[in-house]
């Protein structure tokens, strides 16, 4: 079982990293030929950074759109972020300089109870998907399965955190061992197997699914462009050839 999970860990992380890298390269290499920021938009680069910060941290646009989706979506993502930080204790060595930032009462407490916030958020989102007719209409099987997958990860985590504690020292040894290719025994817990197995599945499907919204938002031209088309000429490489064509015509 330990070897199976070690392999799964490497494979899923490999697919996640390679798939995401390819996607990022693709997004990076496709130009935005026209200035299309949704206005009013910032007129400076630092203004755009601030806009993106508000969008990514507070979900500003979603807040304006629908309060229910915002509250559930934000609870889920906030909980996810807190839980993620708490999980760093399984992979960060205790002599590493950030250790005190992770291994303290506040972060661990917040991270533990964040799982409950996550769960409420996820159930709220699932509820909207089922009960709001407009959202039901646009939902494909994958949209439900994605929520169910993350709910199962959350619930299995909650079980280990609150109800059926596992050998966390052994888990840390297993995780750190994976990183230095010194494979250790995985503590035995059905919840841990479910938890890690599904996280691996999530990592594998990440680059092939709507989870691409996470990098996607940073590449969104309506959000990341500076509103300065009159001041600065903006031309994509493929469009530059049109300029050259007409210059040829007018000169000859």
């Amino acid at each position: 079982m330990s070897y199976l999970f070690a392999t799964l860990f490497y494979v899923s992380l490999g697919i996640f990293a390679a798939g995401l890298a390819l996607k990022l390269r693709q997004y990076w290499s496709v130009p935005a030929p026209l200035k299309i920021p949704t206005t009013p938009a910032p007129i400076t680069r630092s203004g755009v950074v601030f806009r993106m910060f508000r969008e990514v941290v507070f979900f500003e646009s979603l807040f304006r759109a629908t309060k229910w989706t915002w509250i559930f979506g934000w609870m889920f993502h906030l909980g996810l972020a807190l839980a993620f930080v708490r999980h760093l204790r399984y992979v960060v060595s205790s002599d590493f300089f950030i250790w005190p930032l992770i291994n303290n009462w506040l972060v661990q407490f917040a991270g533990q109870y964040a799982s409950l916030i996550m769960l409420v958020g996820l159930l709220g989102l699932l509820g909207r998907r089922i009960f709001v007719d407009r959202v039901r209409y646009i939902s494909a099987p994958s949209d439900y399965l994605m929520l169910i997958l993350i709910i199962m990860i959350t619930v299995s985590g909650i079980m280990m955190s609150f109800i059926a504690p596992i050998d966390v020292v052994g888990l840390k040894a297993f995780m750190v061992g994976l990183m230095v290719f010194d494979w250790q025994e995985l503590p035995s817990s059905i919840f841990l197997i479910i938890h890690l197995g599904l996280v691996a599945v999530l990592a594998i499907i990440f680059p092939f699914s709507k989870l691409l919204h996470a990098p996607g938002v940073f590449f969104s031209p309506t959000r990341n462009q500076v509103d300065n088309p009159r001041e600065q000429r903006h031309v994509a490489d493929w469009a530059r050839s049109l300029d050259l064509d007409s210059a040829d015509q007018s000169s000859g």
Binding site: V30, P42, S61, P141, S220, T222, R230, R233, A236, L242
Partner: protein, 498 residues
């Protein structure tokens, strides 16, 4: 107004999301372009035999050219934030008119041909083959989007349905399935210089007529010059301004402003159109070809500045794209924004007391203002974000004493499209236009009842034409709609200097 063969929605105090009703607008589809409309735009005359392969190839081409298209097809999480934001959904209940529903018509094909999961497990992610039925669905519903970008304001990733609908229309054009209304008009611009096909002599006639009318009314010789070399300003305005009501009253107003400020200006017969329907069909090349006429006219006439008249999507192409498409404009005077909006000019003149307005001239009316979608969400005026909301209102308030805004959720960047934008201002789509106007009509009706509003000012030729047509369906007068520069025209004090 002919008796409609569809039910006219009842207006309510608030616009609320209706229950989903599938297929209510599946019959709506504009006339298909004929070969003579297609060819001047370099598109095949009719549906090509290998349309399937060619459509997929075109999609692949666009995925490599437009980051928006690529990123937006991947990023949607189906959160539903946009589902109640489109005026066409609010007016028709058809789920394919929810922004995400509309995007999914294309996204399902993208997933089938361009994503791993869609290739092998299509049912899981709702992926579908491109069939003739899907193609017809595209043609119908991508011509039910006015590309107003209201959805993009509310999307947590800024997904802009107009980018998808423009790409869809470009694919359709590329396989020979263009829309008659847009393509016929673009061809007219290439041939004659404007959307309405008004040749130079007709323009000369019209402008002389205007000069006579203004002289009769005001006793002042205001000039409306055409092709005058050496003028400082080239005014590019939608051709509707040359003859349609209430548009022409706006043109009269621009002329009075220039006259009173002592700015020498001219119109151009070569670039006698501010509108650029190349935007609506998503064609960079055609949009560029139309834009180049403005550059050519400016060079030919030797002007120092380019100013645009009241037109929504035209201001988008001018403000956001003109520098990209037809720049650099290093032959113009860099002291002025290139290009400039007529409202920026008038606003500045009012601020500097270079022209005088007497708002009591408009004391018989109570005015509200319709923010045009393209101006509100795709452009700016002045030097601060949101100037596109402030400047028109300040000009209106300088010209009238009684001004009231509509409900906050229906103005500024949350404004509702008039229902006729994006190349849909054609009689073959009248049902869509009437139903799509519902959210704006609701908001307007409210201020009429609450504050006695008598007129709605707009700064877009499409809005003006659309409202003129649609207001009577809702029992309101077609002459309620006015140009902002019509208000200026009424209020401006002409001191008869020559």
């Amino acid at each position: 107004m002919a008796k409609p063969d569809f039910e006219i929605p009842e207006l309510k105090a608030d616009t609320e999301a209706p229950a989903v009703q599938e297929g209510t607008m599946s019959h709506s589809s504009p006339f298909i372009a004929k070969p003579e409309h297609q060819r001047p735009l370099s598109y095949p005359g009719e549906l090509v035999e290998d349309w399937h392969d060619r459509a997929i190839a075109k999609m692949s081409d666009l995925l490599g050219k437009y980051r928006s298209f690529r990123v937006y097809l991947d990023s949607c999480v189906k959160c539903g934030a946009c589902t109640d934001k489109c005026h066409y959904f609010l007016g028709t209940s058809d789920p394919n008119n929810m922004p995400v529903g509309r995007q999914d018509l294309l996204r399902k094909v993208y997933r089938r041909y361009f994503t791993l999961v869609g290739k092998y497990l299509p049912g899981l992610v709702g992926a579908q083959n491109l069939t003739r039925e899907v193609l017809d669905e595209w043609y119908s519903y991508y011509h039910q989007c006015s590309q107003c970008r209201r959805c993009s304001v509310f999307c947590p990733y800024g997904i802009d349905t107009s980018e998808i609908s423009m790409a869809a229309r470009e694919i359709l054009n590329d396989i020979g399935m263009g829309q008659k209304y847009c393509n016929e008009i673009i061809a007219k611009v290439f041939k004659i210089g404007n959307n309405l096909g008004l040749p130079e002599p007709a323009l000369v006639d019209t402008l002389e007529g205007l000069e006579e009318d203004v002289f009769e009314d005001e006793g002042v010789e205001v000039k409306y010059p055409l092709d005058e070399k050496g003028a400082d300003v080239l005014l590019v305005t939608p051709s509707a301004d040359f003859f349609a009501e209430p548009h022409v009253d706006g043109l009269i107003g621009y002329g009075k402003v220039f006259h009173e400020a002592g700015i020498s200006w001219t119109l151009s017969s070569h670039a006698s159109e501010a509108a650029n329907f190349g935007l609506f069909i998503g064609s960079y090349e055609n949009m560029r070809n139309v834009s180049m006429r403005i550059r050519e006219a400016a060079q030919e006439l030797g002007v120092k500045r380019i100013v645009f008249g009241e037109c929504g999507h035209a201001w988008r192409v001018a403000y956001s794209f003109l520098n990209t498409l037809a720049g650099p404009f290093d032959f113009l005077d860099p002291k002025y924004p290139i290009p400039q909006h007529i409202l920026e000019v008038t606003h500045d003149l009012i601020k500097r007391d270079a022209i005088k307005l007497d708002p009591s001239a408009n004391d018989d009316i109570i005015v509200t203002f319709h923010d045009s979608c393209n101006i509100a969400r795709a452009t700016r005026m002045g030097d601060m974000p949101g100037g596109q909301f402030v400047i028109p209102r300040e000009v209106i308030k300088a010209a009238v004493n009684n001004f009231v805004d509509m409900a906050p959720e229906t103005i500024h960047d949350a404004t509702f499209c008039c229902g006729g934008g994006g190349g849909l201002l054609t009689d073959d789509l009248i049902e869509l236009r009437v139903k799509g106007a519902v959210p704006r009509m609701n908001a307007l009706k409210h201020v009429i009842e609450e504050y006695g509003v008598t007129h709605m000012a707009a700064i877009c030729a499409i809005c003006k034409s659309q409202f003129t047509k649609v207001l009577p369906y809702y029992g309101m007068g077609m002459d309620m709609i006015v140009s902002v520069h019509q208000l200026v025209s009424n209020a401006i004090v002409l001191e008869a200097k020559q």
